[in-house]
């Protein structure tokens, strides 16, 4: 690098400037609106202040959306990561792994709207799932999985599990396979290789996978409307924000809800990252001489 750097020193400023359009775009379209929304959230019809926030937290209909959203998104994230970790581990060197990843990528790319529509049909009272349960006598009456909590929860698993799986698989395959081999020659059984080698090296990846999975689940919107009970048990915070903005045209209130949403989200991210700091955070391949 040193020789290249000295040759290119003359042009250093020009090259660094290449980052400018990207930065400008994100500043203009992300940071500026975000700050604008932040300021807007403190304005109300009566002047500037915390009124919107006070209103949000003093109106159960609004403030409960935080608990509702967490109550759906947190278990869904735990289930997704909890399923994805052992499955990614078991299939990481399987000959069917490429096929499996190609299949699992389908629900991610189809997006939440299509999954919601599909689940409405599939899980509905006349859907194939209930038919199967009735025919096989696994259930005596149709089970209700749509227009309630479970519909939204299941839609989050359908789109979230493949996401978590692909993410964890990429972290797992990034761990140098010679390390568990070394552990094996030192007497570690496959289970202890997992506990003593894979798991500690996977902590950073797990933290990031959890955060990204949680962002997805926490921002649940279309499936909560289409597949849930948007007036009651699945009235998530996105719905409240959307209604404030596009049904009540109360942009300051909508901005306040968006800020609260971002705040809760970032709080969870910070919490996860804080836990991660307690663990090893270095390269996941052995040091090279």
């Amino acid at each position: 690098m040193s020789s290249a750097a000295s040759i290119q020193r003359k042009t250093v400023d020009v090259t660094a400037l290449l980052v400018a359009p990207g930065v400008g775009l994100v500043l203009l379209l992300f940071l500026y609106p975000f700050l604008y929304g932040f300021l807007l959230s403190f304005s109300a019809h009566e002047g500037v202040g915390l009124r919107n926030y006070v209103k949000f937290f003093s109106t159960p209909f609004l403030s409960q959306t935080i608990a509702t959203t967490l109550w759906i998104s947190f278990p869904a994230t735990v289930v997704n990561i909890g399923l994805a970790l052992p499955i990614a581990f078991a299939t990481r060197r399987h000959r069917l792994q490429r096929l499996l990843t190609a299949i699992l990528v389908v629900p991610i790319t189809l997006g939440t709207v299509l999954i919601a529509e599909g689940l409405l049909l599939y899980l509905g009272p006349q859907g194939w799932l209930n038919r199967f349960l009735l025919v096989t006598h696994l259930s005596t009456s149709a089970i209700h999985l749509t227009h309630n909590y479970w519909g939204v929860f299941l839609s989050l698993v359908v789109s979230g599990f493949p996401f978590a799986y692909l993410l964890l698989l990429s972290y797992l395959t990034g761990i140098d396979p010679v390390l568990p081999q070394a552990a094996a020659t030192l007497g570690a059984s496959p289970w202890r290789q997992f506990i003593h080698i894979y798991l500690p090296l996977l902590v950073p990846g797990l933290a990031i996978a959890f955060c990204l999975s949680f962002v997805q689940a926490f921002s649940v919107f279309p499936s909560a409307v289409l597949l849930g009970a948007p007036a009651g048990p699945t009235r998530v915070i996105s719905i409240a924000a959307y209604q404030a903005a596009f049904e009540d045209y109360d942009y300051p209130m909508a901005s306040a809800i968006a800020m609260i949403m971002a705040g809760v989200q970032l709080l969870v991210v910070v919490l996860i990252l804080a836990i991660r700091v307690l663990f090893y955070r270095g390269p996941t391949v052995g040091p090279k001489g």
């Binding site: 980052v19 929304g37 190609a102 299509l114 194939w128 921002s219 959307y242 800020m259």
Partner: protein, 275 residues
């Protein structure tokens, strides 16, 4: 030893049962949509009474799919083109140079991917309304650029880092100017990265619901938003024509997904490339 082997077998069996269960149900829900889109009448039976193609015709006219598709193509390709044009040079600068505020800039590129689109989508929509851009195609494109540009930056940066800087030094030693260096050395070497980033942004933009939903007007809906409205308003229209539209949406996405999978690793769809 034998017990260990048995538990290992049981464990592996359990894993594949769970995978199988998941895949069967996902295909179940996709098949349900496809079957319904061809159904004449489907009430209380395993399969519909008969099959027809009429819903595709009615979906096409009812939902003005021709204009929706044109909008979708315009939005998606504009987003891909602009995000590559802006993101690739930024990725190059970030991979090659150390400068002040580099960490802050990296954080700036990661943040839009770390917070729910709703949180910046609503204020962004508000700003766009003030600028009279909300409800237009330009507004939709601008909103979709917010996650697309950082994604391109994060996907392409490792590709740039893989290119030996001595190659560029060599090209300069042999007399290539900046312009020639870029088009004769960097672009060919970066083609796999640019292709990967472009395809991934394309697939993600087709499926991006929230931002388009918040900024689109009646004339600037993409396929996914039109699909949402049609499902939302189900009951007014026949469910089959909604599903016909869903199948059209699915086909659009899957075609690009299949193309993408030829060039990129599935894991790149959810995260940036490592190494």
């Amino acid at each position: 030893m034998r017990d260990g082997a048995l538990t290992a077998k049981l464990w592996a069996g359990l894993i594949w049962v769970v995978i199988g269960f998941f895949i069967v149900n996902v295909f179940g829900l996709i098949a349900a949509v496809v079957v319904n889109s061809f159904a004449t009448r489907w009430l209380g039976t395993w399969l519909p009474a008969g099959f027809t193609l009429q819903w595709y015709g009615s979906a096409w006219s009812e939902f003005q799919l021709d204009s929706v598709l044109i909008v979708t193509v315009e939005v998606v390709f504009a987003v891909v083109a602009i995000s590559l044009l802006v993101g690739v040079p930024a990725a190059y600068a970030l991979a090659r140079r150390d400068f002040r505020f580099k960490r802050a800039i990296l954080l700036l590129f990661v943040l839009p991917l770390l917070v729910p689109p709703m949180t910046y989508g609503i204020p962004l929509a508000t700003v766009l309304y003030r600028l009279h851009l909300a409800g237009t195609i330009v507004g939709v494109i601008l909103a979709n650029l917010v996650p697309a540009v950082p994604f391109v930056v994060l996907v392409v940066t490792p590709f740039v880092e893989q290119i030996d800087p001595r190659l560029e030094a060599a090209a300069r030693v042999f007399g290539a100017g900046t312009f020639r260096l870029f088009f004769h050395v960097l672009v060919p070497l970066l083609t796999p990265g640019i292709l990967a980033a472009g395809l991934l942004v394309l697939v993600r933009t087709i499926a991006m619901f929230e931002l388009t939903f918040l900024t689109a007007g009646p004339d600037s809906q993409t396929l996914v938003v039109a699909l949402y409205y049609s499902v939302f308003a189900a009951g007014i229209r026949a469910g089959q024509s909604v599903d016909a539209m869903a199948v059209i949406y699915m086909a659009t996405t899957l075609v690009w997904l299949l193309i993408a999978l030829r060039f990129v690793n599935p894991t790149q769809l959810v995260t940036r490339v490592k190494e």
